[in-house]
Amino acid sequence: MERSKQDVLFVKLFLTAMVIFLILIAVQTFTLELIVLPIWLKVVVTLMPVLPLIWAFFIFRARYRAFDEYMKALTGEAFLWTLGMLCFSSFIYGMLAMKFPMPPVELALVTPIVFGSHGLIVQLLIWKDNAESN
């Protein structure tokens, strides 16, 4: 019971962070398009959506600390896969970019891709576990 309450709280907080993120993206876009601002304020408005992502990171850290030992190990393995894929893909891109003209990569997409990939890999590992036990 306690565990499911923690899960529900995590989902609520995480979704709240994501909603705030989307709202701030909208605020950022409209503000920069419609209002003339000094440079420093433009920088502040541009970086506003980062705050809920940092909050989401701390929400996830709290959840990770509440995991049991096996889920911690599984989550760690998923991070290893995510980190490996990120490192190798960026290395491959960098190597190719040194020798060939390459299309530009939007660096802002790295964080959501890492978050999403990690969640997907955790689910795949759990699914593999369940499949092996049947």
């Binding site: 565990r3 995991f67 096996y70 576990d129």
Partner: protein, 72 residues
């Protein structure tokens, strides 16, 4: 590490989820320990043993011991 968790669970007619709820871990953790895929911490081993009112060494035993017992 080998163990008798599946047998003991069956004797009590407990599902993995029921055992997991009793000791406060995920079903995945019980599943992984039961299949010998994850070696539990001493605390988790104590928690599991307590659920079955047995000592840790009556439930868990190392691979070498398990192979020896099987060959006997």
């Amino acid at each position: 590490m080998q163990n008798r968790i599946k047998v003991l669970r069956a004797e009590k007619n407990w599902s993995q989820q029921m055992l997991a709820d009793n000791i406060g871990v995920s079903r995945q953790a019980v599943n992984a320990v039961e299949r010998g895929k994850h070696d539990p911490s001493l605390q988790l081993a104590f928690d599991i043993a307590n659920q079955f009112n047995q000592r840790i060494e009556e439930i868990f035993f190392p691979e070498v011991q398990a192979i020896t017992e099987r060959s006997e």
